[in-house]
């Protein structure tokens, strides 16, 4: 029984799974604690998959499903890009591409007091950090880091914001630097803010640079590292030859 369940697990780890797949049989594993991350749920004696994606395992006992979607599931300590929808007495209502709107307290800024509350119109783009994300409650955001400093959080002026999938955002934020950003950074100078909720903001001196960078990032979704570099090279050549 143990062999079969081990075979079951090892055959699914790092494999693509779809909703309904049973990845672990608990009846044959005794006295172990396993931790389940996103995309998995416990159904009596089995662990089954809720979302389509790749099943990952990290020692000693953590399992989760990595997937890439267009909508974001709020998670504590994530840095994201939100757009202000409305402002109330105590909070700003911010859209973060999640199931519900998020609240940004008006005092959650560095040196924020009742006297200097910022005035944000609907549509303002903010780079924020998720402070609380419980199911059933609106998530809470903050424009300061854990120690209360501003640390790059706040309004993003000018530039261009576009939406991508959450998987692409994670790849752009991975370290070492992902190939597309490295290749672009060697030739062009631009400013970029990446939100884990699938929003990316790009700013540069000239509009053509902004367009080039945005298109390169949007194209790199399903390309491997080498393909990304080749794609950026081709875009640059077209750009040089036309300008």
């Amino acid at each position: 029984m143990d062999d079969r369940s081990l075979n079951l697990t090892t055959s699914f780890i790092d494999q693509i799974v779809v909703p309904g797949d049973v990845v672990l049989d608990l009846s044959s594993m005794s006295n172990q604690t396993i931790k389940l991350g996103g995309g998995l749920r416990q159904d009596c004696d089995t662990i089954s998959v809720m979302k389509a994606g790749k099943l990952k395992f990290s020692k000693p006992n953590k399992y989760w499903v990595e997937s890439s979607q267009k909508r974001y599931v709020p998670c504590v300590e994530d840095t994201i890009l939100g757009t202000v929808v409305d402002s109330k007495a105590d909070n700003f209502l911010v859209d973060i591409k999640g199931p519900t709107l998020a609240f940004l307290p008006v005092l959650a800024f560095e040196g924020g007091t009742r006297r200097n509350i910022p005035k944000y119109e609907a549509g303002t783009l903010l780079y924020v950090r998720v402070v609380k994300a419980n199911a059933g409650m609106n998530p809470e955001l903050s424009c300061t880091d854990a120690s209360g400093k501003a640390a790059e959080f706040g309004v993003l002026k000018d530039g261009y914001m576009f939406e991508t999938s959450t998987g692409l955002s994670r790849m752009l934020l991975s370290s070492p630097t992902c190939p597309v950003l490295e290749a672009l950074g060697k030739k062009l100078s631009f400013e970029i803010a990446i939100g884990l909720n699938g929003r990316v903001w790009v700013n540069a001196a000239s509009p053509s640079t902004v367009i080039l960078v945005s298109n390169a990032i949007m194209n790199s979704e399903s390309l491997s590292g080498v393909q990304q570099r080749i794609m950026v090279e081709k875009l640059m050549q077209k750009f040089q030859s036309s300008s």
Partner: protein
Amino acid sequence: MEFVSPEGLRLDGRRPMEMRQIRAEIGVVAKADGSASFEMGNTKVIAAVYGPREVPNRSQQISDQALVRCEYSMANFSTGDRMRKPKGDRRSMEISLVIRQTMEACILTHLMPRSQIDIFVQVLQADGGTRSACINAATLALADAGIPMCDLITSCSAGYLNSTPLLDLNYVEDSAGGPDVTVGILSKSDKVTLLQMDSKLPMDIFENVMQLAIEGCKAVANYIREILLENTKQLEYRRGT
């Protein structure tokens, strides 16, 4: 009229237990959070899913689970004669309700309280079995949107004409006035979430026809799994290591 010839062939050349050709594609509506198109023979439908997102009407939100809304509509050009009122009529309302109840059975709504999931299904070409094609398309669209589901739901229809159980009726066979059994099952656990029938059938024959429809559902489930695996593999980002 003869729907099954003496040699055992139906009007379109299929055997009684043969399904029409199925074809599915994921990600056909770029703006939607999840979308899929599904074809069963000549029946083509597109499903688009939006959500989970904020409920615009505070009075409608449910405090401990997500609100699932579904709208079924047929394009004016989907049937032989151009339709005048593609949605809002009795049949569309009924099918919308049926699809909503079926999908609610598999979506884990308690994980997304006070939010809303919209499923829009549009029939582009109707040739019988639109209900089943819509449910199959909605399953793929929900999986594409990353909405947590406990299982994949698939659906298929079967009928009984000329004393033969027939799988996957097309429009001509459907409008013959014989029984039409539509079944929707959860693919892994084999639990029935949808069972509808028009007309009348004796109990023992009904069991055969329902079993045939369930076999059809399982065949669709295999295909849907393959398509979903293939699509997820392609979408999976590469990290360079």
